[in-house]
Each structure stands twice: as structure tokens, then as C-alpha cells.
Symmetry: C2
């Protein structure tokens, strides 16, 4: 953590010295985030809830974009954006993580850099405030790609991570959700919804480097140490500067079988345009397989696509023209201006 | 387990009824197995050790082939072949699994079917005699693809799996290996070797269905709950009837980043011949990335390829002509007859 902070300040310092903000102002910057896909309909939403969610999505995408503008790497932008969502009780990651069948939180996260194909992932950690920070540490501070369970937490302790009391992750909303699922009152609907609250981010920085990250609390009432696609490099997260960067959200088992994130990047590397590649995987291959969910994806030019085959997907982006879009439902998509005045420095 | 057994006997019964062995004798059957890749040189091998290893490889490939001839599925053949290697103390899987830094065994396995892209995987199980059996049960008896740790073992208990005493997995060879690594006497060499003793199998059955499976004890002196490529669908194992089936062995971190198994299948699906696709990934992409290891791969016609960029790879196959090949070193490759008389019924 100290190394990270030191590195961060060094970058800010160097950026200041060379006035990178001005010098590289014509280099495209872009970021796209998601807060999960699922059965999100206007009928199931109150105005107040919708406003709260939109505000959180905006805070996340702006936190990431702010890093990019400062000259930080796409990896740092992805981590900054995801941490806002992990710290919010609204999404199934970090603070708002769902409970497993035993009433505990088991969180997964992964991150990947498009420049050198470095990657880090953690599965089933219980005491880490920001699992995406630990995935980053696995990538940068170890020779491994993936760590899990108590071993991953031992690594975190050695790296100086604060161990959170499980009470930190207790949100009444998620606890009641578990009780309802256990009582089978609304089991079918909840089971359908629970898969889809993963968060993620994808960014392109001044160096032209892509990065992608994903973080999740898994599935409510989860048993048997089930692992979904979020911590699986290739399935839930992938990034390669030669093609694209992807973060996924959905019914993880299908995203693993179809290696969704890498599958999309591979098509892009073969020459298929990003939006067509992502659309084929999400709206053709996964639809035929009955695998629900969506992705956020960005190619090396900063083009963004956010296809999903579910009813809605929480998503926000700031594109290479600086235009911000925040969307929940299917029929949206018109960009609204992302004036830099809205971004807190 | 009971369902599996019942299914097995049903297949034998039906095969007998319709005399499938004769009726479908012109349908290609093929199987290829591996017992790991690594720094295997003639200088480091005794005649006795080599004979023992060759006998084990032969027993494994014949066990799988016997299933295929009986009319069993490629999945059943893969499981049968892998169980022979898991039950042998010679390989780093099951009985012969290495010890982690805490002196415990943590085993991973995965399996995938090319027909419906069903898959199952377990990570970090400690008391399961045949982890490949548990991966199979995750695939067939649950709605999940991957389970890990104590949760996976809880699932195993519910499915009637016998919980082995840790003493079962204690082999003196592996224990001494751990002590040497801990003492750092031969740390560098051991660290290089330890990655490469994973086992795996790939098969094509009478229905034209491919399957692939992989099983490992991970890495000796492993810390922090590290997960390698073996339980990762896409990295260590992949199967798709439209392209090929692959099981990998090597430095797992690289196999994850390059999504090796799926990467090869994807190239085959795009029209690249199997041997060229596998060779590109193992001997070009991975070599450039300094990722050591190899794969066994088979396409839907039963063509087999076994490229590796390490000094040797334990491997054996029985091809569509019934010819058996057992190889350890790089310069080998001439087939020897795999007479059915050699296969014990």
C-alpha cells in the first residue's frame, strides 16, 4: 500500500513537472464503468433510489476519469472508479456485498493491464474493504495471478492491508435479502437478480494503455465456495492493448464456459469492430445459451460499448470527447455533457 | 457417485444390447494424456524411474481408451485416465500431490465437455482422493462451474465422497522436496520443476464428443492460497466439439494470462489446423512471454498434438488408428503399436 501511494505521488509530481495535462491533451482518454446487470425495470424503481444510484455511478466514473486527466495509469483509474462502487452500500461489492448461505461475505475481484498482460485476482476474501486493491497488490507485489481465501488474506496482512470487522460489510438490505431467499418467499426472483450486481471498470490512459477490473460479493445465499466469473481472468475480466479491455457482469457460470471477456477481445484482435464483437458474444452466443448479463468494453482507440441481454445494466462512461453518459435501462443512451467543471479536483 | 455408477452400467448394458463395439467400429476413438512438463532430461533419470513412469503413463492411457472402446463417453474416459495418474504417487495430483508451505496438500481439478460446454472445477480441496471426480460432480450434480476450499469439500460430503485422511496424500518424496525447498538448498531448481507435474487427459468418443480434464497438487511450498491454471476453464482446460479439447501443464500464471486452452481452440475454430494452433501458442506466444509448459490437444477428427517448450513432457496417446505412443523427452515421437491385447479388460 505504501509503495502504491508513493508511486501515485511520484506520478503526480512528474506529471506536474512536465505539464502533461497540456502536453498530452490530445491523447484520447476514456472510461466506462458498470454496477451490474439484471432485472432492472422502471416499475421496480423509485425516483429516490434511481437518483441515488445515478449519483453513485457518476461519482465512480468521475473518480476514474479524474485520475486519467491527472496523468495516472488506466489501472489506477480503474481501481479509483471501482473503489467508489465498493465503498457504496448500493452495489454487490465491498461494503454492499451479499451474504453467503452461512451469513458471511465472500468477495472476489480481478484486474488486468493491456500493456504487459499482467493480472491479479482474489477469490473469497472476507475482511478486505476494497478487494480490487488486493487484486492490484497480487498483480504488482507477487509473482502470482490468483490467490484465494485465507491464503489471500494472509498475503493482505503481510502487505499491510487493514482487516475489516465483518460488521463493516453488514448492510441491512443484503441481510434481509438473504433472509427472504432462505425463507423462499421470493426465492425465484431473488435468485434471478442476485447474479447481477457485480461492479467493474475499463479505462484508456494517456499512454494508450487499457486496463479492466471487476469486483463482486458473489451470489446471495451462496453455498459450497462457489466461484463465479469475476475473479477469473478471461471470463470476467480481460485486457490487451492489441484488442480491447472488458469487465463482465452476469450469470457467471455461462461467462466462464464462453470465456466471455477474452472471447470478445479475441474477435477484436481478428479485426471485428468492438461493438460487433461484444454484441455477438452477449446478444447471440450468450442469448442462445441462456446466459444472462452484459459487459462494458473499450478498444485501444477508446471506443466504448456496453451490450447486455438483461432488462437493465447500471453503467456510466466518459468518452474520448469528454461526454458523460449515465444509464440504467435499455432504451437510454443519449450522452449528456461531462463538463470538467462537474469533476471535483 | 451412485448416479455415475448407474449411468456407467447402463451404458455398458446398452452397448452390449446393440453390440456397439462392432456396429460403430469405424467411428474414430482417440485419447491423449499428460503427466506434466518440465525439466526432464535423460541425465536426471534412472532406467528404473523411467520404466516406472512409462508404465504409469501406459496404464492411464489404456484405462481411458478401454472406456472409449466399451462405448463410454469421452468424459468418462478422461476421468478414468486421470484417476490412474491421481492414484499414482509419481505425479503431482491426488496421492502424489505436493505440499504447500504449511505442509498441507491443496489440490485443483477441472473438466469440460465439448458437446454442451458443460464444465466443472474445484480449487484447493484437501481430503478428496480423486479431485477429478469432484470436478465431474460439480459439473453434473450442481448448477455451478467452480467451487473452492471448504465449501467444495462440504459439497463433496453431501454427494457421498469419502473424506481421506491427510496421511493418504503423504509421500516421502514430496515431503522431502518441501524440506529442500524450505531449506533453500536446491530452491531454484525445485522452484523451476515444481510447476510442471500436473496431469491431464483429452479424449474423443464414439459420438464424436470431445472432453478434457486436468488435475494438480499445485506448487510445492505454495503460499497465500495461490491458484494456478489447472482449475481455470479457458486457461488449463477447454473443450468444444466445434474446435478442439486441451489440457495444459506449466507455469500457471502465464497460462492464465494467455488463456491458453481456449486460445488454441479459438484458433482451430477460425480454421487453423490443430498442430499449428497449439504450436503457435506454446512455442511462439508463450516462449516470447517466457511462460514454460505444454499442452495435449485433440481436434474433432481425433488429430493429436502435444507441443511443449520445456525440456520434456510425460505424455501418452492412443490415436484413431489404435497406435499407442509413450514419450518423455523431446526427441521422441515414433508411435508403437497399441494392440488391444495390451489393454486389460
Amino acid at each position: 500500500m505504501y509503495e502504491q501511494t508513493a508511486k501515485y505521488f511520484l506520478i503526480i509530481f512528474i506529471a506536474g513537472l512536465f505539464n502533461m495535462n497540456t502536453a498530452l491533451a490530445d491523447t484520447p482518454l476514456a472510461i466506462v464503468i458498470h454496477g451490474g446487470a439484471g432485472t432492472i425495470t422502471r416499475a421496480s424503481m423509485t425516483d429516490e433510489k434511481e437518483a441515488t444510484i445515478r449519483a453513485a455511478l457518476k461519482a465512480s466514473v468521475q473518480a476514474g476519469y479524474r485520475e486519467l486527466v491527472k496523468g495516472a495509469t488506466s489501472t489506477e483509474a480503474v481501481v479509483a472508479a471501482i473503489k467508489v462502487l465498493e465503498d457504496s452500500p448500493l452495489f454487490n461489492a465491498g461494503k454492499g456485498a451479499v451474504f453467503n448461505a452461512a451469513g458471511n461475505n465472500e468477495m472476489d475481484a480481478s484486474i488486468m493491464e493491456g500493456a504487459g498482460l499482467n493480472a491479479g485476482a482474489v477469490a473469497s476474501v472476507a475482511h478486505i474493504r476494497n478487494p480490487i486493491d488486493l487484486a492490484l497488490s497480487v498483480m504488482t507485489d507477487s509473482e502470482h495471478v490468483m490467490m484465494m481465501g485465507e491464503g489471500a488474506e494472509e498475503f493482505a496482512r503481510q502487505k499491510g492491508f487493514e482487516m475489516m470487522d465483518p460488521a463493516y460489510f453488514h448492510t441491512d438490505f443484503r441481510w434481509q435479502q438473504l433472509q427472504r431467499i432462505k425463507a423462499k418467499e421470493t426465492a425465484q426472483q431473488e435468485q434471478r437478480d442476485q447474479w447481477f450486481s457485480t461492479v467493474g471498470a475499463v479505462a484508456l490512459d494517456r499512454n494508450g494503455d487499457l486496463a479492466a477490473g471487476t469486483s463482486t460479493g458473489g451470489t446471495s445465499n451462496k453455498r459450497w465456495g462457489r466461484v463465479g466469473d469475476s475473479p477469473i481472468i478471461g471470463a470476467g475480466t480481460y485486457a490487451n492493448n492489441n484488442s480491447c479491455a472488458v469487465s463482465a457482469t452476469g450469470h457467471g457460470e455461462y461467462f466462464i464456459r464462453y470465456v466471455v471477456a477474452y472471447n470478445i477481445c479475441n474477435r477484436v484482435e481478428s479485426g471485428t469492430p468492438l461493438s460487433e464483437a461484444a454484441d455477438t458474444v452477449i446478444n447471440d452466443i450468450l442469448v442462445k445459451a441462456k446466459g444472462q448479463g452484459g459487459v462494458i468494453a473499450m478498444d485501444h482507440s477508446g471506443n466504448i460499448t456496453t451490450p447486455f441481454n438483461s432488462e437493465g445494466m447500471y453503467r456510466a462512461s466518459i468518452d474520448t470527447d469528454g461526454e458523460m453518459t449515465i444509464s440504467i435501462y435499455r432504451e437510454e443512451g443519449e450522452p449528456e455533457p461531462a463538463l470538467m467543471g462537474n469533476v471535483e479536483h
